[in-house]
């Protein structure tokens, strides 16, 4: 406990200490290093005042530059002199500024204007045209919301997570599966952040839609490797979703009406002054599915009152106190509700409060405090028709966190440092059972944990060609009381239930178990020439919380569990290297990249056969500890400009696991292992009114365990695998084509505010019955045979292909904005 306090104190102390330094009058600081001065400021979108992330600021004279951070802030320190700066951002008109840095620091806020609409150019991904080659980041994919909006997924709805599944190295176990797998990682190994607050279940309606309302999302970044020290807590990837800040220029309303749900978004400036400049703005966006409302007239009798819908509400407000301070408050609330008599519902709630503080031209601080909650509730009798007999059950994961992140902009170095403390409160399952009027409450005690981390990282421009990014993160984890800790049998053969042998009770805040991990991070970029570069990276990541799930697709009922004295933290080491090149007449028309990666995974959670994962006090006795390895090559070709844009990605990969007692102690492919994955996205602008998109996805079938034999028991046909092998077959491959067309409606007058479009789409255009799984069962109907002169009924064995979508799914959506 002392250690935690120390770290906590340190965190608190670091802030003021740096502040003291930073606020000690910038003038003397300038004098001390009199040969240099700094230009800094925020860069925003002229149309709506949104801060722009990743804008390139280039100094013509020195050939050096920098990009804006997640809040649109930049800072450049240069020798005294006069400079020509170029601000560029894909899709926006370039701006040139001459600045006088001969005597003092300059604050320069810039507003960039979107390029003329007539270009109708679709921008695919990178922010700076030559980021592919010039940026140190590798294994990073950013997808512009504009691009995502052109690739409607299921039922014509634009979806963030389904779009990133088209990127190299990203896959899923199948259609409708919650979450996504990155480079052989499990779904729980992705840190999904919504304005820096983690989202524990990123799906609505299982995996068909993600919780992110595309109308409220500004920027999506997926980091698969070379993960900077600022991030931690999950071992496979970071999906950093940033919400829009809201239009600070004018009030806008936008929305859409689709087959499955409708969306409505309001953006408005706040605290406008006389000149019409706003000090803040807000955005509020909501969605609700309405299948139940449409179905209402048909729901009579027992089905009356049936509920099956989901909704989400995303809101964010920002307020600029002065040039140095801005605060942001964002929140998300979403829920899925299913049921008639019996029902269950689940949802996430997140809130994050952020404070951006510019200490000086060189030192930037963002402090985030967040709250995140995921919970579900199951009830056998929602209407309490029979108050004497019911059963209900709830579970949740709640966490609170504070996270100061400092950025110090120095000449040729950008230093980042900070820390994070997360308090976890797990409710693994609490149930009430009433039988004949007597109610019993039972279930599991809450579990508590504290995860804290300190990190420091630097991005260094060693020479014009060589850039390094290196850092170190130390994470410390405490599994805390109150609670019971169990010790389990050690003499049990692997893959069998271990029973507890002793129990120790701990008091509130008493440490049950502590784990600490040093997590080094390193990336390097070497520019071979103007149009090509080599990059490599290494990172180690530790993960202290685990999603307990052994079904083929994870379910909303899966429970997160902390690391305990029996469950060790997961650790991943990854090395990656790649070649990046830009091609084409203008130099950046095409981007090509090849990346290779190898990953070692430790302490992977696996399950004994027949593990009991729900409401099981001794769950740890049913868990197994394994190791994993994943390696592959990712090829990516992208066309950035012209009427036809898009990309092709191909991934060759292998993901395996080794667990004592499973598959006869041999490595086996994981459930999400896919040898080949090919994704192609094409976007075509025919004219100002019509644009089209096509998406093609192909993937090797996922592994499955098939029986080798069978026998009868009490008339039931029981499948049996005589070799005891795991994932010994593969289901047939998956492929699918989606088509979409967008029609911009004509404006009646050029001044007309109302803009609208129609999106028509067909999902699974050639109606392939893609298998989600192949399983074996006895058919519903039995067969009558004569055995020893007796007529007997015997079961019939069959192999069944289960397809989530067996046909093509057309849809139309109407979107508007005013």
């Amino acid at each position: 406990m002392k250690k935690i306090l120390q770290i906590g104190l340190l965190l608190l102390l670091v802030g003021p200490a740096v502040r003291a330094q930073g606020t000690s009058d910038p003038a003397p600081a300038t004098r001390r290093t009199s040969a240099q001065a700094t230009v800094s400021g925020y860069i925003k979108d002229a149309a709506n005042g949104e801060g722009l992330i990743g804008v390139s600021v280039f100094v013509k004279e020195t050939g050096s530059g920098i990009t804006t951070n997640s809040y649109g802030f930049y800072s450049l320190t240069l020798p005294l002199g006069t400079y020509n700066l170029v601000y560029t951002y894909v899709g926006f008109t370039k701006q040139n500024r001459t600045i006088d840095l001969t005597s003092q620091n300059v604050r320069l806020d810039i507003e960039l204007k979107e390029e003329g609409r007539d270009l109708q150019e679709v921008i695919v991904s990178t922010k700076r045209e030559d980021d592919n080659v010039k940026d140190i980041a590798m294994s990073v994919n950013t997808v512009e919301m504009k691009t995502i909006q052109k690739i409607p997924a299921l039922l014509g709805e634009v979806d963030v997570i389904r779009s990133i599944q088209l990127l190299p190295g990203v896959s899923t176990v199948g259609e409708g599966a919650t979450g996504f797998n990155v480079r052989g990682g499990n779904v729980d190994q992705n840190l999904v952040l919504l304005d820096e607050a983690p989202v524990y279940n990123s799906s609505h309606l299982f995996g068909f839609f993600s919780v992110f309302n595309p109308d409220a999302v500004k920027d999506v970044k997926l980091v698969k490797g070379g993960i900077p020290a600022v991030y931690g807590g999950r071992i496979s990837s970071i999906l950093d979703v940033r919400m829009k800040e809201g239009n600070s220029k004018k009030t806008t309303v936008s929305g859409g009406i689709g087959l499955i749900f409708s969306r409505l978004t309001l953006e408005q400036p706040l605290f406008k002054n006389k000149e019409g400049q706003a000090r803040g703005s807000f955005i509020i966006a909501g969605r609700r599915s309405y299948a139940d409302i449409l179905a209402k007239p048909f729901l009579t009798g027992d089905l009356k009152g049936s509920r099956f819908f989901f909704y989400d509400l995303t809101a964010k407000a920002n307020y600029r106190i002065n040039d140095k301070n801005t605060i942001y408050l964002s929140g998300y609330l979403g829920r899925d509700v299913f049921g008639a008599d019996f029902g269950f519902n689940w949802g996430n709630t997140t809130t994050s409060l952020r404070w951006n503080h510019v200490f000086s031209d060189k030192l930037f601080l963002n402090t985030t405090a967040f709250y995140s909650n995921y919970d579900y509730l199951l009830d056998s009798d929602l209407k309490r028709k029979d108050p004497k007999d019911y059963f209900n059950w709830k579970s949740s994961i709640v966490n609170y966190s504070i996270k100061p992140d400092f950025t110090l902009f120095l000449k040729n170095n950008t230093l980042t440092f900070g820390g994070q403390a997360i308090v976890y409160d797990f409710q693994p399952g609490l149930a009430n059972a009433a039988s004949g009027g007597e109610v019993r409450t039972f279930g599991l005690e809450n579990k508590y944990a504290l995860e804290s981390a300190l990190y420091i990282g630097n991005e260094q421009l060693v020479s014009k060609r060589l850039q390094l990014q290196y850092g170190l993160r130390y994470s410390l984890y405490n599994y805390l009381g109150p609670g019971e800790a169990y010790e389990f049998q050690t003499d049990v053969p692997p893959n069998q239930r271990r029973f507890p042998v002793s129990t120790t009770t701990y008091d509130r805040n008493e440490t049950i178990k502590t784990y600490g991990n040093w997590e080094p991070r390193f990336s390097a970029k070497y520019e071979l020439n103007e149009v090509s570069s080599l990059k490599m990276s290494y990172n180690r990541l530790a993960q202290y919380i685990h999603l307990v799930s052994n079904t083929s697709a994870s379910t909303p009922l899966d429970v997160w569990t902390p690391s305990t004295n029996n469950i060790k933290p997961q650790i991943a080491d990854q090395i990656a290297g790649g070649y990046f090149r830009n091609l084409g007449k203008t130099g950046t028309e095409y981007e090509v990249s090849v990346e290779l990666y190898y990953k070692w995974l430790q302490n992977q959670v696996d399950y004994i056969d027949g593990a009991d994962l729900l409401l099981n006090k001794y769950l740890e006795g049913d868990l197994l500890n394994g190791k994993g390895r994943a390696y592959g090559a990712e090829f990516f070709l992208k066309k950035n400009k012209g009427d036809l844009t898009g990309w092709v990605s191909y991934t060759l990969a292998k993901t395996e696991r080794f667990v004592d007692g499973i598959n006869n102690n041999r490595w086996f492919p994981t459930r999400f292992d896919k040898r080949h994955t090919l994704n192609a996205v094409a976007l075509y602008d025919l004219n100002k009114r019509w644009s089209f998109s096509a998406t093609f996805a192909f993937a090797t079938g996922t592994p499955a365990t098939f029986p080798t034999n069978g026998y009868l028991f009490q008339g039931y046909l029981v499948p049996h695998n005589a070799e005891n092998s795991r994932n010994n077959y593969r289901i047939p491959p998956y492929h699918r084509l989606d088509l979409a067309a967008t029609l911009q409606n004509r404006k009646k007058k050029p001044t007309q505010k109302w803009e609208s479009n129609w999106v028509f789409s067909v999902y699974n255009a050639y109606g392939r019955k893609n298998p989600f799984s192949v399983f074996f069962r006895q058919a519903e109907d039995k067969r009558t045979v004569t055995l020893n002169g007796e007529q007997v009924q015997i079961p019939v064995a069959e192999a069944v292909r289960y397809s989530v979508f067996a046909t093509l799914i057309p849809s139309a959506t109407y979107n508007f904005k005013f």
């Binding site: 279930g443 056969d609 009490q714 029981v718 069944v800 292909r801």
Partner: protein
């Protein structure tokens, strides 16, 4: 445990209903798959009860999955069941079809509550054994019916049965619940119902309570019963490992869809004395049985709850 392993609620069905109404279309179709057949093993299907009449143990050999509904019989085995007091019951394959039978003397029944039983098999040079115990079982107090629709989409009404029994207090009990309609056992894969202290497994502290709701109505066929059907409900006492066995059996033979469990072999309690010899599959259990048989007629019909 009906339909899904999750607390007996038909979660999957609610989900499917949701998806159906949302206009999504999932689909299951039979396909042809070539499976490699593994080595054949001895399969034991032996469940002995304290009910009057002959007791049987079926021995077969495992075969390719698609042929397994008509497995080759395991012939020429020596099969005995001994109790703690070394009373030996010999099981004979009278018909020569792998069905080994012990026929009680007039007035004799198999088994005593609280006693442990050992199954011994000598087959093809290997010796196998299994142990089970006959535990106590509560009586079924009543069995009643309510008129209901089999599912909300049907107009027809049927009769849903509900039995009442109270878990034996101050001990941990495991039960296997079986139902018969007009003498025929309900034998769909979804009809495997087991209960822990009259409830589900886990940490449920329902010791000594009335069997909880979903268990009480877990005795119905999908189409429900008809008027004048003769319905029999049995509660069998089972051992903890039998409970676990049935859970796994149910999971594995009802395993499909989005949220399928990983396929795994159903456990067995039959052990080869020679640890490196061929393993057996299947299960040997002994149970005390309490049962109730009633007719679906006015006297047993209660007003429906709606």
């Amino acid at each position: 445990m009906k339909n899904t392993p999750i607390f007996g609620f038909s979660v999957i069905h609610v989900i499917l209903l949701g998806l159906l109404l949302l206009g999504l279309s999932s689909c299951e179709d039979p396909i042809d798959i070539d499976l490699q057949t593994g080595p054949s093993q001895l399969a034991i299907d032996g469940w002995l009860t304290d009910q009057p009449g002959p007791q049987t143990i079926k021995l077969t050999k495992t075969t390719g999955y698609f042929d397994a509904a008509q497995p080759p019989a395991a012939l020429g085995a020596t099969v005995i069941v001994a109790d703690e007091d070394s009373v030996i019951h010999e099981f004979i394959d009278v018909k020569g079809n792998g069905t080994y039978v012990w026929t009680p003397k007039p007035g004799e029944v198999f088994g005593k509550i609280g006693k442990r039983y050992l199954l011994g098999i000598r087959f093809e040079g290997q010796e196998y054994y299994a142990i089970s115990q006959m535990n106590s079982v509560p009586t079924i107090d009543s069995l009643v019916f309510r008129e209901e629709k089999p599912n909300p989409l049907e107009d027809r009404k049927g009769f849903a049965g509900e039995f009442y029994a109270t878990d034996l207090p101050n001990q941990t009990d495991y039960y296997w619940i079986r139902a018969y309609r007009n003498g025929k056992r309900l034998d769909e894969t979804s009809d495997i119902v087991v209960s822990y202290n009259g409830s589900f497994n886990g940490s449920a502290d329902t010791d000594g309570l009335l069997f909880i709701q979903p268990i009480r109505t877990s005795i119905n066929p999908d189409s429900l019963y008809n008027r004048n059907d003769s319905v029999k409900v049995e509660v069998l006492s089972i051992t903890p490992d039998a409970f676990y066995f049935f859970q796994q059996l149910s999971t594995q033979i009802n395993n499909g869809g989005l949220f399928a469990s990983p396929p795994a072999n159903v456990p067995t309690n039959v052990v080869n004395r020679n640890a490196s010899g061929p393993k057996a599959v299947g299960f040997f259990g002994v149970s005390a049985v309490s049962s109730k048989t009633v007719k679906v007629e006015e006297v047993n019909i209660r007003p429906s709850e709606d």
